[in-house]
Assembly symmetry: D2
């Protein structure tokens, strides 16, 4: 892209936390620029009214969500919308030649039946669903390069998949005996105030939620499935809430098909991620603060009795959302993959 124009980005759903994080990260992107912000609010606010930290730094007035109004003005749309809305907007954007990175779950599950079962909606854009690429660059980089529609992965699935796939691909673990025990900061719940996230309720407490029922459980399985021959994976997923703003740590319990040493397990991770710019395999156990505001995923592994235990830390708002979207955009537009994400 040397010498070329910067990529022009439209952020749709500009008042969400993932939009906020995208604005923040893109302030430092040398080859991309947010040129449009769309929201469902009426009246439309300025971005720095919604997020006052951007006063004097982001100079954008929100506009209504209207694909045609974006024609010719943007190269790529970041869809930061609730599940179910993206699939009503993406088709027209794609027709207009605008590439789409969708932050919702709409294009993540290839089987419409899964979507219907877990999201309680009928999928209405099957054509694009078939074409969408799951935006996990560590495993789908080549397909991302030419993709026009990216299903940006969920936060928990990103942390889980990066921990599990190396072992699953290598055939070292039982695909149906996987436990993912995760904990997330509260930004993952979004910008909408809710009684259970009122500060005095959320501060100084820890809890599990949606045990066995979280939608990311099926997303993790479907992300793993292609790497198992002749069968499906089975994952037990338990998310927890940590009284902090951001970060996810997943503690993943895997059953090796035969005894494995911790050195071997470490080697599997090191080899898988040898050339990856954002995955750091380390001896030291990860902490979410060490990946906060970065696009890094930190991994460590232990063998405890009959299990491989993989620890995986990301920032749910960066590698788990907006950072990964930018990474995907960089790959799609042939920009240095680390641009804006150093």
């Amino acid at each position: 892209m040397a010498g070329s124009q910067p990529v022009r980005i439209g952020i749709v759903g500009a008042t969400s936390y993932t939009a906020r994080e995208a604005f923040r990260l893109l302030l430092n992107h040398p080859q991309a620029q947010v040129v449009a912000a769309c929201s469902r609010r009426d009246p439309q606010p300025r971005v720095d009214e919604v997020f006052p930290e951007f006063t004097g730094r982001v100079n954008l007035q929100c506009e209504p969500i209207d694909a045609d109004a974006l024609r010719g003005r943007i190269d790529v749309a970041f869809l930061c919308l609730p599940n179910g809305l993206a699939m009503t907007l993406a088709p027209r954007l794609l027709e207009l030649g605008i590439r789409v990175i969708d932050f919702s779950a709409d294009y993540r599950l290839k089987e419409p039946a899964d979507y219907a079962a877990w999201y309680d909606k009928t999928h209405t854009d099957l054509d694009n669903l078939a074409q969408a690429v799951y935006g996990l660059p560590e495993f789908y980089r080549e397909r991302i390069r030419t993709a026009r529609l990216i299903a940006n992965p969920g936060c928990y699935p990103t942390s889980a998949a990066l921990a599990i796939l190396p072992f699953l691909k290598a055939g070292l673990i039982e695909p149906t005996d996987i436990i993912v025990d995760s904990a997330s900061g509260i930004s993952g719940a979004g910008a909408e105030p809710r009684p259970e996230h009122h500060f005095p309720e959320r501060h100084e407490t820890f809890e599990a939620y949606n045990v066995g029922k979280h939608r990311h459980m099926v997303e993790i399985e479907r992300t793993l499935d292609p790497y198992v021959r002749g069968s499906k994976t089975s994952v037990i997923f338990t998310p927890h809430l940590v009284p902090m703003e951001r970060g996810i740590l997943s503690t993943v319990y895997l059953k090796p098909t035969q005894p494995i040493s911790v050195e071997h397990a470490m080697q599997v991770l090191l080899e898988t991620y040898e050339n990856e710019p954002f995955v750091r395999v380390r001896e030291r156990l990860p902490r979410t603060s060490e990946v906060a505001r970065t696009n890094c995923c930190d991994l460590a592994v232990r063998v405890v009795k009959s299990r491989i235990v993989v620890l995986s830390a990301i920032d749910n708002m960066v590698k788990g959302a907006s950072g990964q979207a930018i990474q995907n955009m960089n790959v799609m537009f042939g920009i240095d993959e680390k641009a804006g994400l150093r």
Copy 2:
């Protein structure tokens, strides 16, 4: 009260944070018992549905707010209601012979004009307003003993008045050059979720609010006024929000009428509170955590250049609300003043 029946309490507005704190404190009160809980919800919840920590510990079904339905069942009502509602309920309760401790501001300001100006409402119960006693036992204990209606003080005014009154009473400070700079935990904002108290917004931030406009500014002044001859006090009050659940620290700047030593200032505090069970005058600077979940007010004093600086810490939910209400109740009913508050 030896040998007598426990005081029967009705908590009206049972789903508020101050109600919750009263339920918690009264679990340990040897001579009082909550026997009724009233709320405006429909359908009426059990107390342990609203506050699940009370499961198996508080066995009460909420009932509608109806003074007559409480006749003969309770000795005292704790009114944990929004400003403006208490004055519609208290008159009938008093008629029924039920004593009232009002947590709202309805009976705190003796001048109806003040109430109208600051609370934007016309006071509708002037008779009882005239009889109400401001429930600051350290200064009004004798009147509280025989009171039938207590205006339980505001949280900030409690912390400020206990810091200022000793010096004002002694004529040692300028009454019109008082600055109260306070900081409070978020429980002070109540149980209702608000965007600015959504955990990711409130965590890791500090700010002032309602600068020069907070209603407690006038309450502080009116609490001080009776101790100045021939004039009114003037207080500048700035509240701040601390990302913690509970606690208030007030840093109070007083202008001595003539130079004063720190030893003298300390002596004034020590003498004022010599026999007070809940005010601790100490050399050491106070911290809100040292008064958390207690009815204590910790005070320290310094002299800095031309000012006396008094530091005053309370738990806003205890000495600043429900604990002080219980203290008032103990005084009213001739119980050991520390009962339930050890």
Copy 3:
């Protein structure tokens, strides 16, 4: 104990967090009183110098740790000492007729070889080790009644054992496929400042630690073992650190020996704890804030695919330490088991 003298308690290791919590809880105990506080500090502080919140509430000067100096003055000693020290002190206290509740791990593992392997010390008091009773009243109440030496359980093992034992006793789960994934507030690390618990490092982060190496892993197994015929249990235990002061949530994954419904699983818990004053079995998922500062253990259960998932919440400082010690004391001295713990 009606009409009798209060139980006289000596707290040894009076500057620890568990001592602090015992002092706090015992302020409200109607039939017990702390009459001695012993520490290793020189010079010896007052308790309220170390913990200023007790100013005016706990009036005790610390004294050196000397069993003979306590003769005749106390009925029971709470040993809040590091591992390895309790076993040097308990023998003499017991000889003097003082009952002992030991907060350390010294008397928890019946096999000296386990102690040597996990605590890197040779056990020096095998006689009393053989007599010590593991202080989990829900399972050992009868033995506690007559015990002279209580091994007060570890915090994580308490939360885990209460979740697992009902199913293990009933023969419903595989004893060698148990995963305990726990998260604790930072008070569990004790009062000694450490770089990793410096506020700016600990705030806003989440991490696992001692994966597969935490000493509570063997304590959990040894607590479960007696309930399995002919074999030993095998537990994988992963502790995590939550940026909060107190609380433990354990998420426990159990493998049923045959398919089980969630209703059946729930029934097992309900029946086991039907008459227990401090275990609350609920449909609702537990949160640590709902047990904070109480001696309660909140349990919920789900069945997810091939596993029973039990959620177990306690306050690590109360049911996980000082509250359980008081519960044990109450049982030992024939006091109402809930005294001081309401």
Copy 4:
């Protein structure tokens, strides 16, 4: 600097929090690069061992602090050292032609007597002290351009001076009746663990400290003094500690020499900072989270009774330390002042 080599920076005292923040900010600086890191540790660590978040991002091995070893390798040294050490190192660095930005207090107070009185040390580098420029670009930009030695301002003084100087310069306020009431996040206390900053002690508490004795009180006065004719200023300064990582909010009480409207006060701020890239004057009250990780200072003003109340928020680690250092460096080296600080 177009086309020229990047500025080469040496960070001395590389294991401090201000060093950490400088490393973080400089990752994104397009025209400057950290090429040396010096520490007093033995053995010398890698930067990413001390701060693991920099794994794969900062590739530097620490080296001993030795001015001569830096000759020719760096253009500017950031001295992130305790007070008293900088003045032993700066002279040689300056002799070697290395410019110096000192984060300590060593070159902030022009009067050696002030330094002796407040820092309890005799100043040993009076020549350079006389030449040093106080690095507050909003007021000393021209002198910074040609400075060889910058005294980087303290965090509290930065927040206070930016709030007060506009009014003082305009002669609108009494110079001897100024109250600065500030609150800071805990990173301001540095990286060294201390008992009072142990997580369980610091979480959920608020307190004042060093009331009337903090060294920044004199720094604020000396920063204001040059703007008053014929007299000195007198400031009462009270710092507080907020349970958050970063951020300072100062609430400043100024006495107008004659009545002033809030519109006039606002106008004074707006005009002063009209062209400043990092000072944002707003109607809305500032919050520390809105300046977190930015070099911005947010200001708002109110008039309350007889006082002007100015609210001033900065990130203590950025505008209050490392960001301001980079801003100073940018000015000194003729780089875009916002480089690395967007």
